[in-house]
């Protein structure tokens, strides 16, 4: 049950992601951006942070790191990959997930607890949730607005690939201007998931608003066991 966590220059949440994997009984394996070697892992997490200082575009330079070649190839073969925040940006830049993340519409950095609705409990990273369930997970981003053209958005919704949506009160706005309140999406096979909120910060009492991040990591361990 080895889950690799990639460290890019500027990654911040790699330690927390590894800790979350261990919290549910998995073995966390550190992967270095400069090594084209996945060290025998069964799944990979691309963590949050500011890889390469967010220069050029968030995730744009990390996408071409040596470690990404094998991640892209193996994820196309079904290996579970979770991209959190900057990791989500890397997945979009890699074209493993559609769309892009742009600067928040209100132009401020966000650091808030967010209410999310689980729209798809059938992915490798969400099978321990129930569809329609609402969870609270922390969010911290400056460039978290999910955008895509209308056709892509319609496709994502039509194929059930919107995995999480921000729960927005009547008359309110989602925290970053994401189109159609989309917080997280998956590829068609459901093994690749990206989201802006940070489940790895919500796995231990005393460190966040909830323990609602745990099912991400228990879900993937079951995937890996049954695979």
């Amino acid at each position: 049950m080895k889950v690799g966590v990639v460290t890019f220059p500027g990654s911040l949440d790699d330690r927390d992601a590894a800790r979350a994997v261990r919290a549910v009984g998995g073995e966390a394996v550190s992967l270095w951006h400069g090594d084209a070697d996945l060290r025998g892992v069964d799944a990979v997490i691309l963590p949050g942070g500011f890889s390469y200082g967010d220069y050029l575009r968030c995730g744009a330079i990390a996408r071409f790191a040596p470690v990404m070649g094998e991640i892209i190839e193996r994820s196309r073969g079904g290996m579970p990959v979770l991209g959190i925040c900057n990791g989500f940006q890397v997945l979009c830049e890699s074209h493993l997930l559609p769309g892009a993340l742009i600067r928040n519409d209100h132009r401020k950095f966000n650091c808030v607890d967010t209410r999310l609705r689980v729209e798809n409990a059938g992915t490798a990273w969400t099978s321990d949730f129930e569809a329609g369930q609402e969870v609270t997970v922390v969010l911290k981003n400056g460039e978290g607005g999910f955008v895509a053209d209308q056709r892509t958005l319609d496709e994502l919704e039509g194929e059930g690939r919107v995995v999480f949506r921000y729960v927005v009160p009547d008359g309110g706005k989602n925290p970053n201007g994401s189109y159609r309140d989309i917080a997280g999406i998956a590829n068609d096979r459901g093994n690749i998931v990206g989201l802006m909120p940070h489940p790895e910060h919500c796995v231990e009492e005393g460190y966040g608003p909830s323990l609602d991040g745990l099912p991400f990591f228990t879900s993937v361990l079951k995937q890996v066991v049954s695979a």
């Binding site: 050029l56 979009c92 830049e93 892009a100 742009i102 600067r103 519409d105 209100h106 955008v147 053209d149």
Partner: protein, 90 residues
Amino acid sequence: MGHVVIDVMLKPEILDPQGQAVNGALPRLGFEQFTDVRQGKRFVLSVDGEVTAEVLAAAREAAEKLLSNPVIEDVVSVRAQHADEQDPDQ
């Protein structure tokens, strides 16, 4: 030494929060006549020798592959720098 100039802009339909911030500041300085601001990126790539057709082709490929994200941005121009433009090394 030759230089290739590449301009990248957000697609018109993509919200440009940075441009909006600049647009909001202009009237405070008395510039009331501008109705919108879109902010883009310029890259200047240097090569030893002349900017040949091959150099321009490589620059176009780099622009599509790394310098822009086709989901949200357009490469609006890739061209050799004119002789009368300022050399970035000077």
